[in-house]
Amino acid sequence: MRLQFILSEIGIGLRRNLSMAISVVLVTMVSMYLLGLGLLAQRQADTFKGYWYDRVQVTIFMCTEDSGEPACDKKAVTEEQKKAISAQLDQMKPLVKNVYYESEQQAYDRFQNQFRNSPLAGNVRVGDIPQNFRVQLSDPTKYEVIVSSFEGAPGVGAVQDQKKVLDKFFKGINYITIFSFVLASLMVLCAVLLMATTIRQAAFSRRRETGIMKLVGASNFTIRFPFMMETLLSALVGAGAATALLWATANYGFNRYLNQLILDQAFIGVSDVWAIAPWMVAGVAALSIGTSWVTLWRYLRV
């Protein structure tokens, strides 16, 4: 019976303060959308980087039978050639800090993960990405030493400097991330202040009811819970709307456009939105509950 009463109080409260509830929905939606953009920008950066970017500086791709590199002469790398490359890398310590060998299967698996949103993923087979040595340097600025030592060596198809390829994208992504997070922080502050104001207004407009509830001995929970739930529901609707907007952005901006247009880079997609959505919703819930608890403690004493 009390649950029914509390639910009806929540309904009455939302109806009475509909315009304020809609304001909370909209402000939460905008702030979470901006926050989500910042998070997706970070995920885009991580997607660009893939598994190896932060771990190694130089990649030495081996020859395959299908390699178009003149040095390969349409022959796959032999075991002796691989051993020679590995031994040469070993002799280059301490400049070479770590060497990671990646087989064709491992390369394929990592490619599928990185390019999960690209139509390219379906066309790649095991063996299309050559086996390779990933080299971590103690001094990343000396990558030219590796490039010059191995370019054209027997069994070596290509020597690639990771950072040269991707650094130009990261500056732009970093600006987007900073901009989004700064705006999102301001909007989150707006959302918090608006939630607090909404609760105060709701408490004032229902002061007769809460006054009587206090007099007859209603518990703190019975009096405060409907206000908290109204705020939480409005905030969750806002978070849901933000998620829908992010989905639309990812679906129409990435899945259906960039991922189809630019095939040699990995982009985020709808799956990334589903990855960040639970955290956003949980954050909004925690924020609204925390804000309403503090506001009610200050302005609705039992």
Binding site: M1, R2, F5, R208, E209, G211, I212, M213, K214, L215, V216, G217, A218, S219, N220, T222, V302
Partner: protein, 229 residues
Amino acid sequence: MIRFENVTKVYPRSTRPALHDISLEVNRGEFVFVVGQSGSGKSTLLRLALREEQATKGTVLVAGHELGRLPHRKVPRLRREIGTVFQDFRLLPNKNVYQNVAFALQVLGRSGHAIRQVVPETLEMVGLAGKEKRLPHELSGGEQQRVAIARAFVNKPAILLADEPTGNLDPTNSLEIVRLLDRINRTGTTIVMATHDDDIVDQLRKRVVELANGQIIRDENKGVYGTTR
């Protein structure tokens, strides 16, 4: 039932105490009028009993609870044992008579079945049977106060505090309201009623406690209002 032991109450930013070293005991089942001029401390006395304010000095005991030591979270439980009636009725304007009385039970989680049984009985007791669907603005002042009394009494509290319940009523309605409170008192509920109304006090001849400048100057059984107006 209610005991004040050397109670002083000084409001913040006030130099004069609202109540000064008063001691008073109200036993179970008593009917007590608290009389005095405006500013004598009548409402403060009731507010202390309800734990809306806390005494600056002294001890207040209500229904076995020492209010000065009662944790904040237990105050709602205390208030379930106390019904309160005010001069301005304090009804919910958008709820009808039945809903206003039922509200007091709904917030405490009473079942629908219990509410449907108890509310009509209480309305009949206060003389409002047949007017369940009326809204407060469709009732007279006396009827509105009956609704307020019904709401205060529907949970069968041990104590009923009335702060000038006849202040907005004409003499005829005032007497009816106090007679209703008297009937409630005969069911065993302790009643403490603050009032200016000398006619009522003189007619009922109950215990009278008179306050002046925050102190008890008179406490007599079967008393009259006295000369202080």
